[in-house]
Assembly symmetry: C2
Homo-oligomer: 201 residues x 2
């Protein structure tokens, strides 16, 4: 899905790529504040400080820039998480670092929450693609952690979904709603739940 | 928030209450399929098989019926979960039964997912109220389980959010996307993660 877009980007000059990116982050602002259905291409062009005609040099429609924004979120977020996880000494530490990278990333892209949630109506398949792709990002490290005997052998896809969902809601609760970092106490409680479980031994 | 609505309902005859409910479930269908912004009162009245004028006897606007639908979801879902949890012998069992009640309930209200997600743009405060209220439903049993020594003493609100988020995503993954029950293997993996943790002892 993203391959086509990447090829198109290659045909742009440096300046063209900058304008395209400016339009995408303007769309983030406009979709995040007004919502997809209330937002117009005029709003996005104004926010990006480009002429309306310029918009159409980069994206054929409002739906196209929305789709590309979700794909951009997905790529950037997963790459930020992957980079942090690579620094870890244990598989548990990799998961912890992955969460921190996620929270740091969404702090600068708070509109991510409302925009991804809107995809549930705008484009169901894209919504599903986004979450399946994100869950997938947890799978490799989980599977290595199980093979190495650090983690229990559990249904990997389910565990990946559980881990992703906890990150999603903690980020929503603190970063999106309260506009602050996830407090240490909350982060520690979630990590204890994930790695040690709720039941008293 | 819901008190006002409940009082209004009391002023309706049996037949009036039935019509009101018919409108609400019609709105569920229309908002779920078309999305809030694309849906119209005409669509909802048609789906409910009532005259458009009848709609306005029950709800002043599209936004009002949307709000009331979210509140109705919240009440019915929490009451279904609470009832099941009451049958449990242990606090762990109560949580398991709560999840099953949640999955059973959403199986008959698959539109819940897209409708609640839309609230993020339609009414941010309502969206937050819905999740805070649902998380709250986990708190009492969690707190009793901690007091009874069955559960570890962890930050209760965080654990409640983690449990809620796991239910939300498993339901989305299986009930909403695949239109099927959560498979036993997936449910068991999630329960092991929650109660025993991911780390091999």
């Amino acid at each position: 899905m993203s391959e086509k877009i990447l090829t198109e980007e290659k045909n742009l000059t440096q300046k063209g790529q900058e304008t395209r990116e400016k339009l995408l982050w303007a769309a983030e602002e406009v979709f995040g504040q007004k919502g997809y259905y209330e937002a117009s291409i005029v709003n996005i062009a104004q926010e990006a400080k480009v002429a309306q005609g310029t918009f159409y040099n980069y994206f054929p429609s409002k739906k196209d820039i929305f789709d590309e924004l979700i794909r951009l979120y997905s790529r950037e977020l997963r790459s930020a998480i992957k980079e942090e996880m690579g620094q870890a000494a244990t598989y548990e530490d990799a998961q912890r670092k992955g969460y921190q990278a996620f929270f740091n990333w969404v702090r600068n892209h708070r509109n991510l929450y409302s925009i991804v949630q809107q995809a549930v109506v705008v484009d169901q398949e894209l919504y599903r693609w986004y979450y399946a792709k994100l869950a997938n990002g947890f799978l490799k490290s989980l599977s290595s952690g199980m093979a190495a005997g650090e983690f229990k052998e559990l249904d990997q896809e389910t565990v990946a979904y559980c881990l992703m969902s906890i990150g999603q809601f903690l980020g929503m609760r603190w970063v999106y709603w309260e506009k602050q970092d996830v407090p240490e106490e909350a982060f520690d409680a979630a990590m204890t739940l994930i790695f040690e479980g709720l039941k008293k031994q």
